[in-house]
Assembly symmetry: C2
Homo-oligomer: 337 residues x 2
DNA sequence: TTGTACGCGTTATCAG
DNA sequence: CTGATAACGCGTACAA
């Protein structure tokens, strides 16, 4: 039978036997209770160390009815901005003694539901979710209504805590900028979930409308995935049906793929085609043409999300009213646009 | 008191009460035991569904003495090749019903020890580790001696299971290739842990020795981290003290930084300086100059590591003899070298 | 076919 | 200050 230490690991009982004290006293001593005198505590500590005792978190969780684990549900582990977010969340949450259970949904709603079930059965104390479909978050709202600590990193809905970047506003400002520089028409390469996460498309349309430019659906395509190769393929599709002078890609890896297509097809960036991405990942300045991008405020999002999660975690029965925080993303301009 | 469902979640007892059956029968029915007739099972299932019952994994783990969780310890979540590995491991392990508990050490040995303690206390059934220091894996070997299922993804030691890429061989072949193309002298930009993970440096030296070229220590520098910016900084340091005609970087992000330095300083790649990276991440073809790289066989490593882990997990008391598998990385040649 | 009793390792309550 | 005793939710013998 396997198990890191399930078979041979010393338990409180072993330490109790070794010291001649009761399990209870040992437990208290090990947790530094003032109720047990220093002398006794020292004996216990020494014995525990000698036996190489480690508390069994599983048993503790069962008794305490809390796990000090927070589930983190992401759509994609290969998306640099999401892993950066996860890392930031981990940093701040672990400072408070919480551990992360990370689940990747690959953008599937089914997998998202599965994740929720799994995390629930694993008794995590709360969940932080980057939802696959920003418009389809009813299952999360229901959870929150049942008083479960939950924070979303995207979407828009009453009755649930959301800390998000204003993708729509970012897309609008990026589009306005491109229009202002005379780069028209502007193509939009959206992510696979684009149909269901329409914020960026809407911001793009809003900017066009404000400038009196009619929306041409041939200029908006969806990439099958989120990688540079997906961006390249989408760009090829886009160029086959329109002649944009600029492209707004909804993620930097896609934009990198766009740059790759331009290189292979002899288009100069930004002279022939200006390119702008989303998120401003660490690689953006190192792209073939240094990439302009709409920065995703990952650190801010993480800090605020963790802050909120800690409030919910500590709130007990009377939870604070849900609130939505929209962070304004910043345009980072480099050579590509 | 928070908790996804710790306070209000229905338990077996609730389902038992609802059906008028005993806890035991309910438990058996829910797990599809042939001992309980279909009619009863149907009743139980319906009641469970109606109550929205979810088994408490914590309690189950405590009773079963196994968690069906595998700990995964990585040095860096932002390293694309490591997240790719994690993702592959997750895919294969979850197909067998195991979940991942991911821990990131940031390359610190202390954090690595901490991880081991945490995972142990969380009772994971096994651990897969990309060790921070490939030469310093005694603590892992000790664990394995105590019959804990553990698989390392790098390093070299008897008495423990290791599935790794032959970094030394890869570095040697890359260096030989660069020498063969007449690019000398060759600079080496190693990762922060380079001093303690000398495989690549050794392969580099071996190739030089075989070609009768003396090793010049000024040509070998260490990058402070693993990001493109770190690579750029390291390249600046290297160029300040030597005049290489080629650079071998021990990770693709570093190589991307090297390309960035070359661009900013007017060096043509590969004419003035040839550049080769390690890992062949998805971005490599999209670098400013399509990047030649020593491919890290992430999928192979993941498959073999998971396979081995499953063997160890199922082995019980009599564990198989530890074995080491070295995968040969492949040179992927593009424009940069 | 179903129910009873016990154990998993820990924490919490209440005596002593 | 310390020690029984009872949870926590579930799995597994063993009985009925």
């Amino acid at each position: 039978m396997p198990g890191m230490n399930l078979r041979t690991a010393p338990t409180l009982k072993d330490v109790a036997r070794a010291t001649g004290l009761s399990i209870n006293t040992v437990s208290l001593a090990l947790r530094g209770s003032p109720r047990v005198p220093e002398a006794t505590a020292a004996v216990v500590l020494a014995a525990a160390r000698k036996l190489n005792y480690t508390p069994n978190t599983i048993a503790r969780s069962l008794a305490e009815r809390k796990t000090r684990m927070v589930g983190v549900v992401l759509t994609d582990l290969m998306n640099p901005i999401l892993t950066a977010s996860a890392k930031a969340i981990e940093r701040h949450l672990s400072a408070e003694g919480y551990r992360l259970l990370i689940w990747c949904t690959n953008g599937s709603l089914d997998s998202e539901r599965e994740a929720l079930g799994l995390l629930r059965s694993r008794q995590v104390d709360g969940v932080i979710v980057y939802p696959a479909y920003h418009q389809d978050i009813g299952h999360f709202v229901a959870l929150r209504r049942a008083r479960h600590p939950i924070v979303l990193l995207a979407g828009r809905a009453p009755g649930i805590d959301i800390i998000a970047s204003d993708d729509g506003g970012g897309a609008r400002r990026a589009t306005e900028y491109l229009l202002g520089r005379g780069h028209a028409p502007i193509g939009l390469i959206d992510t696979a979930g684009g149909q269901r996460n329409p914020e960026k498309l809407e911001g793009y349309k809003a900017a066009l409308a404000a400038a009196g430019v009619p929306f041409d659906p041939r200029l908006a395509v969806n990439a099958p995935g989120l990688s540079p190769n997906d961006g390249k393929a989408a760009m090829a599709a886009l160029m086959a049906r329109a002649a944009p002078r600029a492209v707004l890609a909804s993620a930097d890896p896609l934009a990198v793929g766009v740059l790759g297509w331009c290189r292979e097809n002899g288009r100069r960036v930004p002279e022939d085609i200006a390119v702008m991405g989303f998120d401003d990942i660490e690689w953006a300045p190192f792209a073939e043409v240094p990439l302009s991008s709409v920065r995703y405020p990952a650190e801010d999002v993480a800090v605020k999300a963790v802050e909120r999660m800690l409030q919910l975690l500590g709130a007990g029965a009377r939870m604070p009213r849900p609130c939505t925080v929209m962070l304004e993303p910043e345009l980072v301009l480099r050579a590509s646009a």
